[in-house]
């Protein structure tokens, strides 16, 4: 609430409220009347506005270019769009690919927590992503069309990943077992489970492994030459980011729970 008289300086907090459009109509009128006559307050308002704008510019300039996992377009808003957001009028409509990617991501999220629908969601995601990315659906994915809700995920999957970054996400650390990662020559990524039970779900940028803490399963993942980095996550933590693997080279990673 503004209380300053004509000759009293307006508190900076009130100037910020004015800048941000947080004053009532009466407060705004009182502020404008004061500002019209008070050069020092005009200067302070100008300084606060300049600092706000400069900070916005710096933040925008140093934002990451693309928010994962949506790696096919720029999320950096234009100045106009940011201005509209600040005015509370919302941004522009999302691009069709963004909406489609959002549907994929949300369905995946739902699928993780709705076991009967999980296999269907995984299959649906693979098919939709292949459509969106314009890439042919490999035979192994196309064969897994929507089936009965009780069916589990695959123990071998093959698909063409969407970008240079590949995510391999294990739901849980394991009692034993490990992953052998290989960089192959073919354009498709291939993942297999051996010596245990786990489900492999295809995501736009990688694979989600639905495993259990008691599992001792072994995994083998071959990624295509286009994949530059493989990010391996276990639960909520990133276990490892592997890059620079040569074609034909292999690396083994243990999946048992870290201590400490």
């Amino acid at each position: 609430m503004m209380t300053a008289g004509v000759h009293e300086p307006i508190p900076e907090g009130e100037l910020v409220r004015f800048l941000d459009g947080q004053l009532t109509a009466a407060e705004r009128m009182e502020m404008e009347t004061h500002l019209a006559r008070c050069v020092p307050c005009q200067r302070r308002l100008h300084a606060l506005r300049g600092r706000s704008e400069r900070l916005s510019e710096l933040l925008e300039a140093t934002d990451p270019a693309v928010p994962p996992p949506l790696r096919h377009g720029s999320p950096v808003a234009s100045a106009d769009e940011l201005a509209r957001r600040k005015m509370g009028t919302g941004g522009s409509l999302p691009a069709p690919w963004l909406r489609a990617a959002a549907i994929v991501a949300v369905l995946f999220g739902i699928g993780m927590f709705a076991s009967p629908a999980r296999a269907w969601v995984a299959d649906w995601i693979g098919a939709r992503w292949a459509e969106l990315s314009g890439k042919a659906v490999p035979a192994t994915v196309a064969a897994s069309a929507p089936g009965p809700p009780s069916r589990g995920g695959s123990t071998r999957v093959e698909f063409i990943p969407s970008g240079a970054d590949f995510s391999l996400h294990f739901a849980s650390p394991q009692r034993a077992g490990g992953l052998t990662l290989r960089r192959g020559e073919n354009p498709a990524a291939v993942a297999e489970v051996a010596g245990g039970t786990a489900e492999l779900l295809i995501l736009p940028d990688g694979i989600r492994v639905q495993n259990a803490g008691s599992s001792t399963a072994e995994y083998r993942l071959t990624v295509p030459p286009e994949v530059e980095r493989v990010r391996i996550r276990v639960g909520d933590s990133t276990l490892e980011v592997i890059s620079g693997l040569k074609i034909g080279a292999e690396e083994r990673i243990t999946l048992s729970a870290p201590t400490g």
Binding site: E12, D20, L59, S243, P258
Partner: protein, 164 residues
């Protein structure tokens, strides 16, 4: 409003906010995803879904940062397992971009978490009432906190210099 529309509408700004908050795009992506998973699991009763998403995302990022900190301590004892991270850009571009990014992130990290939250939520267009609810303060005090945080950053980030 359905969830996929909410995702399309709010995920970019939530990710941007969390990246600025944590300085770690990977951590921010995970925290944003967790917020949307929670939205699917147990949507908020209030109509302020966007503010709810930012609050849940902030909490998830805070928790993930704690986990990461524990993991980094472990990695210090086993440096051969340290993640390699992203490949560098071209040398000159990487120097400029990296230096600017470090400067901004260091300045933000130097603020108290509450001040950082307030400034970054303001950047995303939240009202002072929504910001106050998120940080447990009064609506009337948010303007003062913003001014104070801006003043703190002004010298460090040269905010008073005119843009060329």
């Amino acid at each position: 409003m359905d969830v996929e529309t909410l995702f399309a509408e709010h995920h970019p700004s939530l990710f941007r906010y969390l990246t600025r908050m944590t300085g770690d795009p990977d951590l921010a992506a995970d925290a944003a995803q967790e917020a949307f998973v929670k939205l699917v699991e147990a949507p908020p009763n209030t109509g302020e879904t966007r503010a709810w998403l930012f609050r849940v995302g902030t909490n998830a990022a805070r928790e993930a940062a704690r986990t990461r900190s524990r993991r980094l301590r472990l990695l210090e004892r086993s440096p051969e397992r340290t993640p390699l991270g992203d490949a560098p850009l071209t040398p000159d571009a990487a120097l400029d971009a990296g230096e600017n990014q470090r400067r901004v992130r260091a300045a933000l990290a130097g603020l108290a978490e509450r001040d950082r939250t307030i400034l970054l939520m303001r950047e995303e267009g939240f009202s002072h009432r929504e910001i106050a609810a998120a940080v447990g303060s009064t609506t009337g005090s948010i303007g003062t906190m913003i001014a104070r945080a801006l003043n703190k950053l002004a010298a460090e980030l040269l905010l008073d210099e005119e843009t060329p």
